[in-house]
Chain length 308, copies 4
């Protein structure tokens, strides 16, 4: 597919910048915006045009992509600042061309995604929520997974653009469903990792070798992604964060944030997630112990017997 789109890209952080670079490599024209000037440097050099504001960036775009840290940033971008706040800023929905498609790749509350999608629809604009998994390495390699909420037709319009940034594209359901599915997966991942760490620490405390135990469980019913692809016990696998002091990878504070989103989703739907909420508190305590910036597999430390 050789067609080039005019894309506005808002949010050039650790994830957004490499995603934007892949879009440029695929031949798209990018108009970009970020509050931080330094974040824009590398995409400018790669050919993006720098807009003075988010509103300016989106004005002639066919596709608007946003990649921001949390619900409040995305809400403020599209809907403007809250009534009653000291500085009222209008949202950018009014600046987006009627034919354009909005793709929000941030990981945020499904309720916020749905609220913005409704406001967009009221203006005749189409919107997808398309949170990603795969981390900064996947963003750089163009192998991200997109979990998409919105209509199937809008997803087909988005597919060529998403394919320039990722490898797997899932359609989870209507607006907000991408966020919900991602948060369900990440809650489960948070439980798998903590549960795997508990099982390994329990075995070692009772005299087992963590590598032997990992081998046995990987071929048994304890098998799971955290155990097999991302083993938290140092010395069991190479090329994972546990092999390099838990640097790199997916940070404790990011997992903590996602478990907070899962808890919000449980509160709004009256769902029962006892393990999920306990996991949220375990990562919180681990973060308060000073491990917030370490990879989330370091949760093992919370369970390990120390020298005493």
């Amino acid at each position: 597919m050789s067609s080039s789109s005019k894309i506005a890209f808002i949010g050039l952080g650790n994830m957004g910048a490499p995603m934007a670079l892949n879009l440029l490599r695929a031949g798209h024209q990018l108009s970009v915006y970020d509050l931080s000037a330094s974040a824009l440097q590398v995409v400018r050099e790669a050919g993006a045009s720098i807009a003075d504001s988010a509103a300016a960036a989106v004005q002639v775009a066919d596709i608007v992509i946003s990649m921001l840290p949390a619900s409040r940033h995305v809400e403020q971008l599209y809907l403007g600042s809250a009534v009653g706040s000291s500085t009222e800023v209008p949202g950018i929905l009014g600046q987006i061309a009627a034919h354009a498609l909005i793709i929000d790749c941030s990981t945020i509350a499904a309720l916020t995604s749905q609220k913005i999608a409704l406001a967009a629809q009221a203006r005749g604009l189409a919107m997808l929520d398309a949170p990603v998994s795969g981390g900064t390495l996947g963003a750089a390699a163009g192998t991200l997974t997109f979990i998409v909420g919105g209509s199937a037709r809008d997803l087909e319009r988005a597919r060529p653009v998403l394919a320039a940034m990722g490898k797997n594209i899932f359609h989870a359901g209507g607006n907000g469903a991408g966020q919900t599915a991602k948060i369900c997966n990440n809650m489960l991942l948070g439980i798998l990792m903590a549960g795997t760490a508990e099982a390994l620490a329990l075995g070692v405390a009772n005299g087992l070798d963590p590598k032997v135990l990992s081998d046995i469980m990987s071929k048994s019913s304890g098998r799971n992604w955290a155990l097999e692809q991302y083993n938290p016990y140092p010395g069991v696998m190479e090329n994972v964060p546990a092999a390099r002091g838990y640097s790199g990878g997916f940070g404790v504070d990011l997992m903590y944030k996602d478990l907070g989103l899962a808890t919000e989703a449980a509160l709004s739907a009256q769902a029962t997630i006892p393990l999920g909420e306990l996991a949220r508190n375990l990562y919180a305590m681990h973060s308060k112990n000073g491990a917030g910036a370490e990879d989330f597999s370091s949760i093992l430390k919370l369970f390990q017997n120390t020298s005493k």
Copy 2:
């Protein structure tokens, strides 16, 4: 290997009986004993000789295999009844030939396994703990997994006999390590299943299709054995307990028992297993709701929103 062994087999329950039948099919001579006469019927017809007591069964055996429900039964079999109990019964260790190898296939506390192995060693007898996974179907098909604790040399002696009953044989470490590794795996499985059920119920409560969500998580970092092989949500997979009203499979009360063994192992080694102990209490509450005999994947019901 065509050699036939003289094997004593104690405990012909739902697991023991099909295991004994596979040994008979492989050409071994069996002397069997069980407290229940009816349990013995089928193995008698298949060619086993029925002993009057456990002590009588083991007297000329080269290999002694036991498959009993819990720690106290195994301890009483080998070491006799506790000092001070009303009826003192001697253990069978004194009846076993000096060259014989003891293989206990029961799932019991590692501390009990180690205590019996020590008492056996004091009499010059070799012992392995070899708990199994694979359930009654695996026992019948001869495809069990054995997780073995004891010396590598003793495991080599046992291998031909174990191979007649199972497919995978893991060496976890010294005496008791088989029990520890199995219990670590099963604790992790209990967490995986409950965590998977929470994630699916959370998604459904927020409007997702459980099949779509299962597909997405199976290709993402939430991937695990419970989700992929044994999905707890009715309608997602065929040929699993969830597809037949949670009948068959691995019972809630068996998982509850194994999580109790994991908790014992944590207490004795000062290990920290917050998710494991919470899972123990979740299966306990589910059992008290009347689901003790259902398959353990029915834990989903604890998290599902009902009609209200």
Copy 3:
């Protein structure tokens, strides 16, 4: 203080109606509004004037009191329906006289209280959050406890009116602090009750008499309000819900709601409440078992060994 105030009272439910009656008895003039006509009957007979709308009720009031079920009702009353909703209704802030004092007695999220108080201040209006404890019996007897957030000066203005409905008045801090303090107290209560029930069930399962154990713990460091004033074990105390099949009292679903508010408060402030969130899930599972309308001390049933 003999002065009579003109009071608008919005929300005449199980709590609001008896509170309004006490205000009438104290000689105040009431203009009342509720969506349900039947709720208004008893206060009409006691002398209140019935308004056609909330907006009409508040127009000449010196004091506006609201007593509504949840955050969204209170937000809609004062601020109007959300932007983008199908039927836009304006809030009543614009109808309230400049000198009037607003007292919201609902139990809602502190963030919602603060948001409304800010919007009120922007119009020059003073507001207090004043959630209550004491239940329907306390409302009828005029012995409620008010936990108040807002300025000390506004609290002094409110004091004569609150004193007509309650006995204890606490000043927790600025706007929202009343809600926060109430929710902290109720989270702790939810933990005390469940913990007391666990301890009693553990003792009974191990052969103790629940009355003897209650006596011992009441004179020891396990002493707490749930154990001494509201014992959950049937047969230990008279005149508590446990003595009458857990009817009356403070419902499981109300405790579940309050633990949800505590979890929201933890999410917004990055607080760690592992026992609080586990308690939330315990009451949720108990409610799903069909006990939502029972008194919250029935949580004991979740922990009791049944006949098996």
Copy 4:
């Protein structure tokens, strides 16, 4: 009651030594034994006679009192070392005079208490379990609380001796009931303290003053011993461990041990204690953070937001 008894006292640690001193002050004759010679110094100076062994200490005693750290020490003292251990030592039951009364004041598993009491009865000896609360200060002041299991008749024989060491004497039931009641109380205390700490930390994270919140909850349904007598938040109360850097008091590791005993009691009776087992893991994680020797009210630190 002026009568003097011949008492053997085994275990002169931080608790045992001041208890023995109070017995000497009350005019009893003491024969004492401890593995540590230094522990014996102070009681020797106060008039106790030092025995060469536990067996020698008990030979002419009317009353035998033991105060040891854990189940295994008490079992070894009375029943001897386990069969198969390297050094077999006989228990002291055989050395105790037939008319003597045994009082074990250690906090141990109820099952162990019952096992020893059965073995004693088999020899015609009467035994009580009488664990204490009140700590080292209560031991020194003679104001301990005894929670007693055994027959009412034996308790009457013990009462004058217990009264020399303590103020409150509860009869919980038959043998082992003293241990069970103490462990139920201490499990509840562990939950009260952690729950109180969570509630205070949640309030502070949301802007409340811990003293104001403590005052409000102390007069409300959150009222409990930990909040009122032993507040964990620094600055709220004087003369509690929180006021002196959490030194003194009841150590984290002692609470951790007691929650382990509660978990053992739950396992043996199939009881469900989700909050109790979570509390066990919370104190475990806190201990691993280095706080094992601090007062248990320091569990607050696990929940506090730090500078970040």
